[in-house]
């Protein structure tokens, strides 16, 4: 095929030279077009993505407040973070929240996906309902949930002390409300991913297993779960990574309160960096955060993939 093309191309070239030479020239010529497409895109991407990252890393070694002059301070910002109770608390909250929300999202979504994959009535309608939160703005639905937690639930569940006194105003329990809302919102995506995974499993496997006398739990453990483990990995990694960066949920429900008890890292960077005059300090925080997220995601990925390989 290639040789035919080359010959034809060569035949069409105005100045007929040696076949190989002409085709190489043609090849080089068309490659140049590809460079013209990709290079500007890369320049723009670097300009708006990589440059800010590098600028952030640069400022993290200074005492820049976001305005005025600045000086290099070495690693003082990083050292400061280690002794900063507010920052440590934000890391504690973000991790606790992210782990709880990730586990709950995946358990709930997998259960719902299994239900949807069973022979049920109006499956497509139900699937449509479960996916609905995905298209709604987190912030806007969050305000509805805020009303739900602050005004409705205290009257609906007066026998649960923490709920009766408004979950959102309790420094110990406000995070639970944020987890519940986050799970409600994130399950939409996780459910359709799990469902896609379940639908890729050939039904013959279940038929064979039930002939061999495997019960429902055994079938789930030995067929379903191993075969959707790639989907499990995607969902776990994506959920944890997204939940660690939680922002909109917290803004809508608590604004970081009561006090700073539900302040996430992203929120701390936003507040401190824009209104607290801590531009440089919070970029240092962001650099640490990037490293933490990368290490956690890669670690999680490796562990989950090794588990996948075991089956």
């Amino acid at each position: 095929m290639t040789s035919v093309t080359d010959t034809v191309v060569a035949a069409r070239t105005p100045a007929p030279r040696a076949v190989g030479h002409a085709s190489r020239r043609k090849n080089l010529h068309s490659r140049r077009h590809y460079y013209w497409i990709v290079v500007p895109a890369l320049v723009l991407f670097a300009g708006f993505h990589t440059v800010p990252v590098l600028v952030g890393v640069f400022y993290s070694f200074t005492d820049y407040a976001g305005y005025g002059t600045w000086d290099f301070v070495g690693l003082r910002n990083y050292a400061g973070l280690l002794a900063d109770d507010r920052a440590l608390h934000a890391y504690g909250f973000s991790f606790g929240f992210a782990v709880a929300a990730t586990i709950l999202t995946n358990v709930v979504s997998l259960a719902v996906a299994l239900g949807l994959n069973a022979r049920i009535v109006a499956r497509n309608t139900f699937r449509g309902v479960f996916f609905l939160p995905y298209v709604l703005a987190v912030l806007v639905v969050g305000y509805v949930f805020q009303y739900l937690f602050a005004n409705s639930l205290p009257q609906l569940l007066p026998f649960v002390p923490a709920v009766r006194d408004n979950l959102l105003s309790s420094p110990e329990w406000a995070w639970v409300a944020i987890v519940l809302f986050a799970v409600w919102q994130a399950s939409a995506f996780a459910v359709v991913i799990y469902l896609a995974g379940l639908q890729s499993i050939p039904t013959e496997l279940y038929e064979a297993a039930s002939i061999d006398g495997a019960g429902a739990w055994r079938q789930f453990r030995s067929i379903t779960f191993p075969l959707i483990s790639a989907f499990f990995t995607i969902n776990m990694v994506l959920s944890l990574k997204n939940f660690l960066q939680v922002f909109d949920h917290v803004v809508a429900l608590t604004g970081g309160g009561p006090g700073t008890s539900t302040e996430s890292i992203t929120m701390l960077i936003y507040k401190g960096g824009f209104t607290g005059g801590e531009f440089a300090y919070q970029t240092a925080n962001a650099v640490v955060f990037v490293i933490v997220i990368t290490v956690v995601s890669l670690g999680q990925f490796r562990v989950l993939q090794r588990r996948e390989a075991d089956f």
Binding site: S30, L42, S200, I234
Partner: protein, 295 residues
């Protein structure tokens, strides 16, 4: 993997239908149906709450909020329309979303094609992995310096957001497009080239029309992202007149935080456009999102 999945699904659905046809309603798993029905209520409860509160007069708000309204106050919507400056926010969000979707489709597709067709070259392979690696860089690290940069370049407005969504979307979109492009036979492009088509023409006349499913996926993902995003408009936009819907809701919430009926009417109006699109094109949206994530 994508192709296997997509290829397998219709066959399976057909098989399921055939089984249903034979066994009729007896094959239905009623336990699972009941479980799913109950779970789906938890999805709908907050939306029900949003609707009933938005229809009430303020003095009906004493109870849990779930009570059916005794008299309906449509004026909540009119009030919300004015107080959130809804027409302005809607125009901004619509312009930003449409602009981002169109620009993203036109640029991401051709960039992905150029990369996908040259992955044997170090430069293009490097570009691919560079863009892919950027997916793992969380937004907070970019946030503070980016705001300085957009302000400096005069991009702290709606046009700036269009540019940013287009550029930031590139890393995921290249990933989504590339696998699909590599499944398109090269012979189609070669044939067009033999007929004298330029690189530009080959892409727009031959390749782009074949990218339909991926264009749908990328369009949906970009649309939902640009429409609902809060943090990027929050930090980038400086002029109050440029506010997007989520930003307008945020400001409104800060100003009238006890005016629940009007606030809820504004939430409904904020959610309505995408909700409407979703209800109409539900299957299409779901399959588009799944196609973008399952590889």
């Amino acid at each position: 993997m994508t192709t296997t999945l997509l290829g397998a699904r219709p066959a399976r659905t057909r098989a399921v239908r055939a089984v249903r046809g034979v066994r009729g309603v007896r094959g239905v798993n009623w336990w699972a149906t009941a479980f799913i029905a109950v779970c789906s209520l938890t999805v709908l409860v907050p939306l029900y709450l949003a609707v009933v509160v938005a229809l009430k007069t303020p003095d009906q708000l004493g109870g849990t909020g779930f009570e059916w309204p005794t008299s309906i106050r449509w004026a909540n919507f009119a009030d919300a329309w004015e107080r959130t400056q809804f027409p302005q926010a809607l125009t901004n969000t619509a312009l930003i979303t449409v602009g981002s979707v169109v620009l993203t489709l036109l640029t991401s597709s051709i960039v992905s094609w150029a990369i996908a067709r040259n992955l044997d070259r170090t430069f293009f392979r490097g570009a691919y992995f560079y863009l892919l690696a950027a997916l793992f860089v969380p937004f907070p690290i970019i946030m503070l310096p980016l705001v300085k940069e957009t302000a400096l370049l005069g991009l702290d407005n709606q046009a700036g957001l269009v540019v940013l969504y287009t550029i930031f979307g590139l890393s995921l979109n290249v990933f989504v497009y590339t696998a699909f492009i590599r499944s398109i036979p090269l012979e189609l492009e070669e044939a067009a080239r033999i007929d004298g088509a330029s690189t530009w023409a080959v892409f727009w006349k031959v390749v782009f029309p074949l990218l339909g499913p991926m264009n749908a996926t990328v369009g949906i993902l970009t649309c939902v992202w640009a429409w609902n995003d809060f943090i990027l408009p929050l930090v980038v936009l400086s002029d109050p007149a440029a506010r997007t819907i989520p930003l307008a809701e945020y400001v409104f919430q800060g100003q009238y935080n006890t005016d629940y009926t009007v606030a809820f009417a504004s939430y409904l109006m904020a959610m309505a456009p995408l909700l409407l699109v979703y209800v109409i094109a539900q299957r299409w949206v779901i399959s588009g999102v799944v196609r973008g994530s399952v590889k």
